[in-house]
Symmetry: C2
Subunit: 332 residues, 2 copies
Amino acid sequence: MQLQLTSPLDMHLHLRENSMLQNVAPLSSKTFSGALIMPNTLPPITTKEMLLAYKKEILEATKEDNFTPYMTLFFSSSYDYNFLKSLKDDLLAIKLYPAGITTNSEGGVAEFNIEQLRPTLEAMSALDIPLCIHGESSGFVMDREAEFIPIYKELASAFPNLKIIMEHITTAAATKALLEHKNLYATITLHHLYTTLDDLAGGMLQPHLFCKPIAKRPEDREALLNLALNAHPKVMFGSDSAPHPKSAKEAPGCAAGVFTAPIALQALAELFEKYNKLDNLQTFVSDNAQKIYKITPPKKEVVLVKKEFRVPKSYGDVVPFLANQTLRWSIQ
Amino acid sequence: MQLQLTSPLDMHLHLRENSMLQNVAPLSSKTFSGALIMPNTLPPITTKEMLLAYKKEILEATKEDNFTPYMTLFFSSSYDYNFLKSLKDDLLAIKLYPAGITTNSEGGVAEFNIEQLRPTLEAMSALDIPLCIHGESSGFVMDREAEFIPIYKELASAFPNLKIIMEHITTAAATKALLEHKNLYATITLHHLYTTLDDLAGGMLQPHLFCKPIAKRPEDREALLNLALNAHPKVMFGSDSAPHPKSAKEAPGCAAGVFTAPIALQALAELFEKYNKLDNLQTFVSDNAQKIYKITPPKKEVVLVKKEFRVPKSYGDVVPFLANQTLRWSIQ
């Protein structure tokens, strides 16, 4: 038994820089045709020069494969129409972080004042540049995504021609809001389809499952599965694969992030097969993103075969999701 | 400024065995007059011989201090009246764990069948031996305590002469149930008065704050504070101080437990002072327990002074709660 996927896309990917990028970028380019590259480097990507240099670094690291890094800028309300127009050919989206909400997001938006954001968001609307948002408040960790929903709704209403991507949604509340606005879309990760807070902290504490947004309740996971397994046209796969060295994960002050890129397609196949939804995987991991972002990624045929795959204990010094577990699907 | 506490009691304490016990027991006996010693050793304490041997080990390790280890048995429905009567002078309470719910609890109760538990619980009622319960279901981690409440209520109603101690309560729901039954009492830990899930996983992940039951929501913490700070007669201090070696905490599969014993009184003084409730601390850390358990602990005067105390980074190989932080109160 085999499964052919055409041009799989990962619409939310952290590649970091330097030696970490050298380690992880080829692990994405091997099986994905393209990926939306997050801009929360140190410092974050905020200029054309930085963006082009970062793109070049990624292309160099992935040159063995036919792989398109779709670039993003780190949102700032100082971006104006002319600046964004000059960048239009080099970026696919802009990523907005609330200040301090996750890794390297200190320079994010501290306050959601629509009038202050308006010039940049109107320029993005006019240029058809989607806005990707890490939508969390600074409240209690289990409530952060739900508390951010009014901001999603306010932005969606105020800028009806702006495509807004609710990144890595984790709650039933977010899946509901998503359906209420024509211009809201969402990415869903692998690990939020697999886990709840129970997997992180219900037994022993598992730092390699610690991420932001934190995995939520069983009924939240069910709501995500319902959209992903049915390849709802408003959702697409975005791994949020976020590598940290083992030393930063297995220590007090453990960094947030789950590294899924090299095992994502295999684990998705296992999940979709379990629910008898394998026919929808192509749409979830590629077709929906192509329509939402209006992109045509490099043609790449990835064949998965029904053969056991033992997930490595680590890739370099990065421990992957499901490390040392056996999946039923392998990349051919 | 100073604060004198007479015979402080820790009514929920894990001392482990062997070298760990040698390390941690003197840290409790230094500042506490007595403590209720949990029986979840490996194997758990289930016979008179084991109980007496364990008591002897503790008395040896704490011989420098005037300290009473109040002993407990690990609950089994096989205990009958005559067995318990023969032990009456040597134990203060019996601790019931649902099977597999926390460290070394595999031999706990798998099913709460009142009729199966009745002979033992009636014997305990007749002998006035309190039943201490780790009250969690096997459900979603944030719901476990709330889901267990019907069992607390059923037991409290079925055995009205049995004193039932709801151990280390963490939720507003538990504080409410506590007040609804005359024969329900509760212990409250230091760390559940200080932390919520946000402290564990809202920023970086902090394995040294990982415990069972997991710390809950801000409104749950408020409900606990309301009882503890007012020294409500149904609650008493029980640290649930649960040491694990650093190597077991700072690794995947991190063990559950927060080690608070050596800094508990200082941190409680800081907390009660912050809320202008210092006058209630004596009642919370000793008087209530004396009344609930009908005990007269060894007379010990512990004087706390308003002088900065830098919490050590570790005690032996155990990292304490608030490690390396500065408290405003010291033991004189």
